[in-house]
C-alpha cells in the first residue's frame, strides 16, 4: 500500500465520520458509519490491486458494505439505510463528476462523453451493489412477514 492510498483511506474515514455528524448520527451508530467509511475505501484499495476495473470494484464494495450495514442495523436495532449511505461517502464519484463538467466546458465532445459515461457507470455500479443486498433482504423480510 502506498502512502497516498493510506491518506485516501484516512480521508475516507474522516469524510464518513463528518457526514455522519452532519446527518445527526450519534453514539454507536456514528461509529458504525465511520468504520464503514474506513472499510469501504480500504476494500476498494485492496481490490484495485487485484481487479483492474473500477465499476466492478465499486459494485463489490457497495455490496459488501450493504451487507455490513444490514448486520450492523440488526445489532444496533436501527434502519440500515443511514449506515449504508454514510459508509459509502468515499465512493461518491465527485472527482469524476468534476472532470465531466470541466470537459463539457472545454468543448471537446468525445472527452465529455467518455467522462460522463464513466461517471454514470460508477454511480450505477454503486446503486446496483446496494440494491443487490438491500432489495433481497427487503423482499425476503416482506415475504416472511406476510406469511
Amino acid at each position: 500500500m502506498t502512502s497516498s492510498e493510506l491518506i485516501q483511506i484516512a480521508a475516507g474515514l474522516i469524510g464518513s465520520l463528518c457526514f455522519g455528524i452532519l446527518f445527526n448520527m450519534r453514539g454507536k451508530r456514528l461509529i458504525a458509519a465511520a468504520v464503514g467509511g474506513l472499510l469501504s475505501w480500504g476494500l476498494f484499495v485492496v481490490l484495485s490491486h487485484i481487479i483492474f476495473n473500477e465499476p466492478i470494484n465499486y459494485f463489490i464494495v457497495a455490496a459488501v458494505i450493504s451487507l455490513y450495514s444490514e448486520i450492523m442495523a440488526r445489532i444496533l436495532k436501527t434502519p440500515a439505510a443511514p449506515v449504508v449511505t454514510t459508509s459509502l461517502i468515499p465512493l461518491i464519484p465527485g472527482g469524476s463528476l468534476y472532470y465531466t463538467m470541466a470537459s463539457a466546458f472545454e468543448g471537446s465532445f468525445n472527452t465529455f462523453l467518455e467522462k460522463a459515461v464513466s461517471t454514470l457507470k460508477l454511480a450505477g455500479a454503486l446503486a446496483l451493489g446496494i440494491i443487490v443486498i438491500t432489495a433481497t433482504s427487503q423482499l425476503l423480510f416482506r415475504h416472511v412477514k406476510q406469511k
Binding site: I21, M25, T85, G94, Y98, R142
Partner: protein
C-alpha cells in the same frame, strides 16, 4: 380511531421529513395499524405526500399529509423507528404517542459551529483524497466553512435548495479560482472537487435508483429528477465562473 390515525400519520410524516426511505415509512405505517387491528390499510407515499386510508368494521378514515421540506436527521429517524416498533408491541393510546413524538422533536442536535467545522474538514479531507497537497487542503478547508455560511444565508433568505446549491458551487469555484490566480495553490481542480463533495447529491441518486428497482417507481423517479437537477445546479455554478473567467485551469 380518528385521533390514532392522526398521531400515526404524524410519525410517518416525521420519518419522511427526516430522511427515511419511502418504503420504510410505508412499511412502518402498515405495521402500526395492523397492530391496532384495522381491517385494511391503504398507504400511498411519494417523497412529497402521504395518503393513508384505514378501514374498520363500520367506517373508513382517510388523511393526507403534504411534505414540503426535507432534511437528513438520522437520530430522529432512529428514534421514530424505535417508537414505531414499540407501538406495534405495546399499542399506545394516541395521547401517549403524542407525548413520545414531542419527546423526539426535542432530540439533540450538534451545534451549528460544529457543522461549519465538519464542512471544512470534509472539503479538506477530500482534497487530500483526490490527490491535492497540504496547501490545497488548507485552502479547501477554509472554503468549506465559507460554503456552509453561504448555505446558511440562502436558507435564511431564499429557502430554495436548488438555488442554494448553485450559489454554493459558484462561490466555491470562484474562491478556488482567486486563490489560483494569487498563486497560493497550483491544483485548482482538487480544491473544487473537495468542495463539490459536500454539495453533491450522491446519496439522493443511490436512494433514487434503489427505490426504482425495489418497485417504488414514482418516488424513485421524483428522487432521480431531484438529484439530476441538483447536479445541474452545481454544474451551472461551475460554468458561470468558467464563462466569466474564460476557463478555469
Amino acid at each position: 380511531m380518528e385521533k390514532l390515525l392522526d398521531s400515526i400519520m404524524d410519525i410517518g410524516e416525521q420519518m419522511l421529513i427526516n430522511g427515511a426511505e419511502v418504503h420504510k415509512v410505508e412499511d412502518s405505517i402498515k405495521r402500526m395499524f395492523s397492530a391496532y387491528g384495522t381491517k385494511r390499510t391503504d398507504v400511498f407515499i411519494i417523497t412529497s405526500s402521504i395518503v393513508v386510508t384505514i378501514h374498520t368494521d363500520d367506517k373508513a378514515y382517510t388523511q393526507t399529509r403534504r411534505i414540503t421540506e426535507t432534511t437528513t436527521d438520522y437520530e430522529k429517524v432512529h428514534r421514530l423507528n424505535e417508537l414505531s416498533r414499540s407501538i406495534c408491541k405495546n399499542k399506545y393510546s394516541d395521547k401517549e404517542i403524542r407525548n413520545q413524538l414531542a419527546e423526539i422533536a426535542k432530540s439533540k442536535k450538534y451545534p451549528l459551529w460544529f457543522e461549519f467545522i465538519c464542512y471544512a474538514i470534509i472539503s479538506g479531507a477530500f482534497t487530500l483524497f483526490f490527490g491535492g497537497g497540504i496547501i490545497e487542503a488548507a485552502v479547501s478547508f477554509i472554503i468549506g466553512a465559507l460554503v456552509r455560511f453561504v448555505i446558511l444565508l440562502c436558507d435564511k433568505t431564499v429557502k430554495n435548495k436548488i438555488f442554494s446549491k448553485f450559489v454554493s458551487a459558484f462561490i466555491a469555484t470562484s474562491l478556488a479560482y482567486i486563490t489560483l490566480r494569487l498563486s497560493i495553490i497550483s491544483a485548482v481542480d482538487k480544491v473544487i472537487i473537495g468542495n463539490i463533495m459536500t454539495l453533491i447529491p450522491g446519496i439522493g441518486l443511490t436512494t433514487a435508483l434503489k427505490d426504482l428497482l425495489v418497485g417504488d417507481s414514482i418516488a424513485g423517479l421524483l428522487r432521480t429528477i431531484e438529484a439530476c437537477i441538483t447536479a445541474l445546479a452545481i454544474a451551472a455554478g461551475y460554468f458561470a465562473v468558467a464563462f466569466l473567467t474564460g476557463g478555469i485551469i
